[in-house]
Amino acid sequence: MSSLPVSTSTHSSLRWAVSDVLTIARRNLMSLVRIPVAIVFMIIQPIMFVILFRYVFGGVIQIPTTSYVNYLIPGILVQTMIFGSVGTAIGLAEDLQKGLIERFRALPMARLAVLAGRTISDMFRNVIVLVIITGVGFLVGFRPQGGFVAYIQASLLMLLFAYCLSWGFAFIGLAAPNSEAAQAITFPIIFPLTFASSIFVLVSTMPSWLRPFAINQPISQTATAVRGLMLGEAHGQSTWISLAWAVGTILVLAPLAVNRYRKVA
């Protein structure tokens, strides 16, 4: 054994942890290269939402301050990023189901690496999807006036928010018996949060009992912040509230997911 070129003594464990995370992330991203159609599936749904709301329902939705397409696209982008983070649950559930996690757990690698590698590769995938859907938005008439810097800030905000959320989905993926169940569990969480929100319509048009939830829930706050930044409109404290939710989510859910990873067997 001593002849093996293992060099643990000369490298810090942190360096190996980073190396493990990158190895896992790279492995996850390879599946995008091998199954490129997966990206197509990820962009079909948001494109359908764009068409549905821009051209089918859009005519009856009035936004006082801007055109509906300008209101809609930032919301669609936020929704798409959040749907993308659901992929973390499905990916981990699949790895668990197929026995890859079993193999990883018997390796002298950093414990966090499987989860961190997964969430990071899912975020990278989200970046690709974000670029594509942004392009689709411009094609259908999206004309944000907030400036380039604010646009990048908005994009980073929703990527970060989705990244933090994906740690929660990591927990679900590890707790679910299989990938189908993981997907089924996420649906009732995601559906009310994305639709009872400011993503598609003004919250002020909703019934009074729903409004408090719809205004204050984290996805609405994120959508409001992203829209405000992109369109150059006032959006109050939404950016900070969204950031607070993101940080709070990861602080609470990441330890839960890591703990679950330790126990899952």
Binding site: M1, L4, V6, S7, R34, L96, E102, R105, A106, P177
Partner: protein, 337 residues
């Protein structure tokens, strides 16, 4: 240098319960695996074999008891244990979307080995295991036998001195099994210690120098396969008939000659006897007197199958090739207990 004691793996009174204590997967298992040989863990589905391997591979912690692998405590020093083991088996698989080479490289890098070494070692293993031509193909396209060989190769990238093989040939065709057996024998010649779980008695017989037989989470027998057979001290007499009708008519006539209840299966009666020739003559006289003719007769030394039947009162279950997820496996109980 690594100082390895005489035993590569030692386990003391391992207990593992699931579902809040309702299921006792392991119920006080102790074993000592001598360095440099194949040690067999034999038992039917649900007997606790896989649970035992997962505890030794640091995937699962024991409810109570302790174990060392390569001299390191599996609970207190899991990372040291992981540096000395390779795990392959039906529950630890490769990534379908990566090529064979990419899979080995990934495992090598996750073992924190030098990149150049990993690349060279991966190529070597792929060539060695007859996967050289398929090295750059996605493993989704591999046959069952190729996958198992890749599985085993993945467990070997880091040159571990101790190898855990959890039912390595379950679901494989006879040729692939032979190939895998030959690879395992070669590894042991090279000094590797192998802990092998299997429900195939012929596999244990062929590969394992020492065996323990597990049933319901307990060791019910241990020794060499010759010792286990000798423990029987008996011979198996098999009588076959032209029809099931004949067999069931003969059964009551000769049942008293068998040491244990004679086993009737279709047209065949199997009996455990102590004095083969004499009992055979006696049985033949009775069958002749009843006017029934035999279509076949065999007298043989007991196989491990018989040992198993003798020890547990039930046959070793027919293995199935179905996919068993870790979750299923956890709660899976023997179907025909």
């Amino acid at each position: 240098m690594l100082s390895m004691s005489d035993y590569a793996v030692e386990a003391f009174d391992i207990v593992r319960t699931f579902s809040g204590g309702d299921v006792r997967a392991l119920d006080g298992v102790s074993l000592q695996v001598p360095t440099g040989q194949v040690f067999g863990l034999l038992g039917p589905n649900g007997s606790g074999k896989t649970t035992m391997v997962r505890i030794l591979a640091t995937i699962l912690s024991p409810t109570s008891g302790s174990a060392t692998v390569a001299g390191f405590d599996v609970v207190k020093q899991p990372n040291q244990v992981r540096r000395h083991i390779g795990l392959a088996g039906q529950n630890a698989t490769v990534d379908e979307n990566l090529t064979g080479f990419e899979n080995l490289r990934m495992i090598g890098l996750l073992n924190h080995l030098n990149k150049a070494y990993v690349v060279a070692k991966s190529r070597l293993l792929l060539d060695d295991f007859g996967l050289g031509d398929a090295a750059n193909r996605i493993t989704k396209t591999y046959s069952g036998g190729m996958r198992r060989r890749l599985d085993l190769a993945a467990a070997l990238v880091a040159n571990p001195p101790i190898l855990f093989l959890d039912e390595p040939t379950t679901g494989l065709d006879p040729q692939s099994r032979q190939d895998l057996w030959a690879i395992i024998e070669r590894l042991v010649e090279g000094g590797t210690t192998v802990l092998l779980t299997t429900q195939y008695l012929d596999e244990a017989d062929r590969l394992a120098k020492q065996l323990v037989v597990l049933d319901h989470g307990k060791i019910i027998a241990e020794g060499t396969s010759a010792q286990l057979k000798a423990q029987m001290g008996t011979t198996v007499l098999t009588l076959s008939f032209a029809s099931t009708d004949d067999a069931s008519r003969v059964h009551p006539l000769i049942a008293d000659l068998s040491l244990k209840p004679a086993n009737v299966e279709g047209t065949v009666i199997e009996m455990t006897v102590d004095n083969g020739p004499a009992v055979t003559a006696d049985a033949l006289r009775r069958i002749d007197a009843a006017g029934i003719s035999l279509s076949g007769l065999a007298l043989r030394e007991p196989s491990l199958d018989d040992v198993f039947l003798n020890l547990t009162g039930h046959k070793a279950e027919e293995p199935t090739a179905e996919d068993v997820t870790p979750t299923d496996r956890r709660t899976k109980r023997r179907a025909n207990a």
